[in-house]
Amino acid sequence: MMWKERYRIGVDLIDNQHKELFNRLSNFIQIVQNDTHWEDKMDDVKKTLDFMKEYVVYHFNDEERYQEEISYPELEEHREVHANFREAINEYVRTFEEGQFNEKKIKEFAAKLMTWLIVHVCKMDQKIGEYAREKGGKV
């Protein structure tokens, strides 16, 4: 299980999306890492990759909207980090679409996505939860 209770920030909407994101990423890593021949799992990899790409954007939008609702003071900084990450994902997707859809590159992408998400959820997103709690959970 990739999701861990210590990743929880205490805001249900965001926690549930994070859980979904980690579950999907875990699924993606399992497909990328299983022993099946690369050509045979290509369709599965592409499908999961498409989902991940869309879900990350969907989640970022919801998370930013929530920050707006609670007048989170670090929204702009958070938005910028999201934008940089979205751009990094798009760059990988462009590389894959240009035909460099190889096992090595996909594994690198999966590893970066994993480490980035863990750091982001454990560090920046925790601050949203802290702020919401300070405000007495009122949004």
Partner: protein, 154 residues
């Protein structure tokens, strides 16, 4: 070699291990070594440029590397493939980034060169007869080293 360099990297390592792996890191006795040398299997080299110049080497055993990636992914890893080595490189890169932030407190402004992961033994001896520092570190899942070989840019 100034204590600020060691403290910045040690603190960054503690913070990142705690954050990403939920592990505490303890420091052993620092040694002076002839250059960047590792007999461990999984090594990451980070270049530092700017006010300080040089390299940092992180050295892990294969077992520890696989366990670190298992903790993050929740999945058993059998070999150090490109997924595992990329994840290890990223962890080192994040530590490096945090260390550079710590160094700004001492008025050093630096940049990182992207990580280079080397599977197998690593050896890069100093040509200028300058010494490196080796920080031995201990966690519940194994021991690893950080070699620091940086100096003020002249």
């Amino acid at each position: 070699m100034k204590a600020e360099y060691v403290n910045s990297f040690y603190k960054a390592t503690q913070d990142v291990f705690n954050l990403m792996l939920d592990l505490d890191v303890e420091r052993g006795n620092i040694k002076v070594v002839e250059g960047l040398v590792s007999s461990r299997n999984a090594n990451v080299v980070l270049g530092v440029t700017g006010d300080l110049k040089g390299s940092i080497l992180f050295s892990f055993t294969k077992d520890m590397t696989l366990e670190m990636v298992r903790i993050m992914s929740g999945l058993e890893m059998k070999t150090i493939d490109n997924f595992v080595s990329s994840a290890l490189g990223e962890v080192a890169n994040i530590i490096g980034g945090n260390a550079l932030t710590n160094l700004t407190c001492y008025n050093y402004i630096c940049d990182l060169v992207p990580p280079q992961v080397i599977i197998g033994e690593y050896k890069s001896l100093s040509m200028a007869n300058k010494k490196a520092l080796l920080i031995p570190l201990r966690t519940d899942i194994g021991e690893f080293d950080i070699n620091i070989f940086i100096a003020e840019n002249e």
